[in-house]
Subunit: 144 residues, 2 copies
Amino acid sequence: MTKDPDFDLQTFLPYLLAQAAETSSLDFQRLYKDRYGMLRTEWRVLFHLGIYGRMTASDIGARAKIHKTKISRAVQRLAERRFLTRTRDEQDRRVEHLELTAGGRAAYEDLRRIARDYDVMLTEGLSPDEVAVLRKALKHLAAV
Amino acid sequence: MTKDPDFDLQTFLPYLLAQAAETSSLDFQRLYKDRYGMLRTEWRVLFHLGIYGRMTASDIGARAKIHKTKISRAVQRLAERRFLTRTRDEQDRRVEHLELTAGGRAAYEDLRRIARDYDVMLTEGLSPDEVAVLRKALKHLAAV
DNA sequence: ACCTAATAGTTGATTTTGTAACTAACAAGA
DNA sequence: TCTTGTTAGTTACAAAATCAACTATTAGGT
């Protein structure tokens, strides 16, 4: 049977995005999973706390657009491993402040180095201009 | 606490890719889920058969980089709904050829139209040049 | 022909995710 | 001070993804 001339799956953005995201996500996963046995949401939470410091679960959810149940579970696991501490807010006792422990910070700094190296590796084969456009376009797409 | 100056999560490609892919995937999901109750892997299989015609499960897996168990289950569901037929190869009886039925083709053509419209909508706000670079870069990243 | 390895595809057990309902705490108006 | 509504976060159950083990069939060497 002949190829459909009107539509090419290889140019359909949700398809391309899914392929690229899955490839990079799986590659990067191997790095943090092997070292720390972390899940995807866990490194994301770890990185948010590493970069922005003290935050609440909702803060992270709002910034990263991750659902609160995912964050709740990631925080639980990170707390069990003593990567972060949870402190109740005295003014509003619904709120919990999260903060990395020394161990959490060490893990974050280690993974941040790895992430940076991985990012450099990913963009080999693309010109700096192309990378800039790619980042801009991805931000745009995430915001739609 | 201050922001880490050495590393910005908002430029880290696996993070950006995951955000963009998730956003577009969820949006597009609503369209095919509402109409046909399909899962992500199911529309992908449907599209492959719609575009390339007769294929085996392995062919699809190789082309789309989807794991064979996912494909196996997607094919089962599509077959139950009479969207495709499965035919044993006479030469090599391990192999099964998959092909869309008339109903499957109708669903594919309907969804293809929707996909095209959605793609157009996604790229509003980006110049044609930017879109071209984006597509090229995503293909590169998927292949790494 | 026979043994071993490889391939296509399926199934089952375990993990992970998603959805909805829930508790606890606060807020704001009557 | 009572509703009523909202927000932070957790938990329970259902849906889906992942991983390993499995069947059936073919291929390749000896």
